[in-house]
């Protein structure tokens, strides 16, 4: 029988989650805030709940307010999406205490794995190789320097509760460590409501490879193979692909890393969708990095090559229902998928660039999936993630996917806001990327976008005017006036 499921998030992931909630016959409940009264995910929700306020701290991060709304609207289950409260143990616990289903792993698993310091220890105990670094939280700059001295620079300074690259900084010496310590603390607090920091060894020319886990409450833990997420900028993933072109057809390594991930998940009796992140050296040796105990931005590429609906199965798991997968053999790879994160950012300065979408249109080839929250008039707010869409391309092979990707990117038109589309187009044609040869330093190695062609010629201006003129004609044909 159908349950009221709170989609406790916004943007494209809220839409993705609401779709899955509906697919399973439940009732999606969505939030809207004063800074986003026209939140596009509401279209997929049957019940709309107002969260007063215009900053995340008073809305999507406001646990008490959200808990009161959960009572008021008789919510039976909560899907946290990614970011916000998705890996907040306190939130998960409070829901557990209320007898409300948290669509994610049990609180203890979040506590252990969601917390990088603890998870590292758990991994060690399980015999999973880890990157050398601080065992627990680092509370002072002095302690940080001590650890850095042990493990040698360069070191990586990162938020305990972090993820998705937010709250991370590489430091090459004590001076940089001092410079970054406090800023990263602040970023950690504002982004995740937790100022805890870690210090660990920074591996040179690494690959970021992660394994998708899906598990149920009956002890079944399956992997859905790996994702290559090495195309990053400032530790922020911008292009992901599955399977990894680095592992390529080295089935031995693929099996090893996937089984390692399953082993670790079993260690904490993991019972939901999650991702085990590894850092892989050029000799294909890998170290456990962290585990994300939530659905991830890049989950669609895994869905496209395995046909496993991760979000739907995550919900089924939380409800104690059997997964669509009966055995590990049900999970196979067919084809190759690439995800491009479409972000509202200045193509030259590469900084987030909020604004209002004035025109939005695309004509994609067959084999393209676009998870997004864009519509003409959609406002990209500075308070929110500039990532507004994910262009997912799938083909029989990587070559086919790249062929389709080039055309898809070219035919995606977003006007009114600045985006990183040009960057994606450059990368898609760049020889090293085409060859599948890149580490996490790729972006800093290739030439960034210098200038995006602007509306220069009179003709271009005139065509804009013609477009408007035609709009009036069309609408004039449909509209009644008062």
């Amino acid at each position: 029988m159908s349950k009221r499921v709170l989609v406790c998030n916004r943007g494209e992931i809220a839409i993705r989650v609401a779709k899955a909630v509906k697919e399973l016959g439940h009732i999606p409940v969505g939030f809207w805030t004063d800074n986003e009264p026209n939140a596009p995910h509401l279209e997929y929700c049957d019940i709309w709940v107002h969260l007063p306020g215009s900053d995340n701290t008073s809305t999507y991060l406001n646990m008490d307010l959200i808990l009161s709304k959960i009572d008021e609207y008789k919510i039976e289950a909560v899907h946290p999406g990614y970011g916000f409260l998705s890996e907040n143990t306190v939130f998960a616990k409070k829901l557990e205490d209320k007898g409300i289903i948290f669509i994610g792993p049990h609180a203890e698993a979040i506590e252990k794995m969601g917390d990088k310091a603890v998870s590292k220890q758990v991994a060690k105990d399980a015999g999973v190789p880890v990157v050398p670094g601080s065992v627990g939280e680092v509370d002072s700059i002095e302690e940080a320097k001590k650890i850095a001295a042990d493990i040698k620079y360069p070191v990586l300074l990162k938020a305990v509760a972090g993820g998705g690259g937010k709250g991370m900084r590489v430091c090459n010496d004590d001076k940089e460590l001092e410079k970054n310590f406090e800023p990263v603390r602040r970023e950690a607090l504002s982004s995740f409501g937790n100022p805890g920091l870690l210090v660990e060894k920074f591996i040179v020319n690494p690959h970021h490879i992660e394994v998708q886990i899906i598990a149920d409450k009956k002890g079944n833990v399956f992997h859905c193979f790996e994702r290559e997420c090495s195309v990053q900028r400032r530790h922020q993933k911008i292009i992901e692909e599955a399977p990894s072109p680095f592992i390529a057809d080295d089935e031995e390594v693929r099996q090893k890393i996937c089984e390692t991930a399953v082993q670790l998940a079993k260690e904490v009796s993991y019972d939901s969708a999650g991702t085990v992140e590894f850092i892989m050296g050029e000799d294909k040796s890998f170290y456990f990095l962290e585990m994300n105990t939530r659905i991830q931005v890049e989950h669609p590429i895994t869905e496209e090559i395995t046909r496993v609906d991760l979000v739907a199965n995550m919900i089924k798991a939380a409800f104690g229902e059997p997964l669509d997968i009966k055995s590990q053999d049900d999970v196979k790879i067919l084809g190759h998928a690439i995800e491009y994160r479409i972000c509202a950012e200045d193509p030259v300065t590469l900084l987030p660039a909020p604004g209002k979408v004035e025109s939005f249109d695309y004509t994609f080839p067959q084999g393209v999936r676009f998870d997004h929250c864009i519509y003409p008039g959609f406002e990209v707010r500075p308070e929110f993630d500039p990532m507004i869409g994910k262009l997912i391309i799938v083909g029989l092979s990587r070559d086919v996917a790249l062929r389709k990707a080039e055309v898809a990117l070219h035919n995606l038109h977003l006007d009114g806001i600045k985006t990183n589309k040009a960057l994606h187009e450059i990368i898609t044609k760049e020889e090293n990327f085409v060859a599948g040869k890149y580490s996490t330093h790729y972006i800093s190695e290739i030439k960034p976008v210098e200038r995006v062609e602007t509306l220069k010629s009179d003709e271009a201006l005139i065509l804009k005017a013609l477009s408007m003129e035609m709009n009036y004609m069309r609408d004039g044909n449909e509209v009644l006036h008062y």
Partner: protein, 166 residues
Amino acid sequence: MKYYIINAEGREVSFDLSVLPKSNSESFRKVLVSQGQGDEKEYLLKNLAGKIFVSEDQTTWKKLPKTKVAESLVNINDAIKVYRGYKPSGLGQANAGNLVTDMPGKIVKVLTSEGAVVSEGDTLVILEAMKMENEIKSGIDGVVKSVHVEEGQVLESGYLMIEIEE
């Protein structure tokens, strides 16, 4: 705004629809619908991503099919005529004596008046629509019973401009 809806079987529904002024704090419109005294109901309407949603309690919302056709709504097996504002005589079957706008436009000129004797083909109104001036001609010989438009007036489709009696 008065609404008249007549469906294929000729059944008529009429009601008063008033859109309340929108306060800045609200992201939706309040609409009052009255089908007669006492029987008044408030709907909340919201345009989201170009789609239209309706709610009665501001919590449970459902999407309304966004009909782009102005004067007629056709359901899967039910044809309906909708008139806004002025209730035309002749209801569904506006005849040659009822000059009804078939596209939205603006009255440029009214060339007749009540009581005038007109014959088929006479131009009675000039309607500007699609940036063209359209001569609206009488379909019959007769006497102008009533003129419902004035110059400068902006009209929707399906609006009865002039009625002529034979």
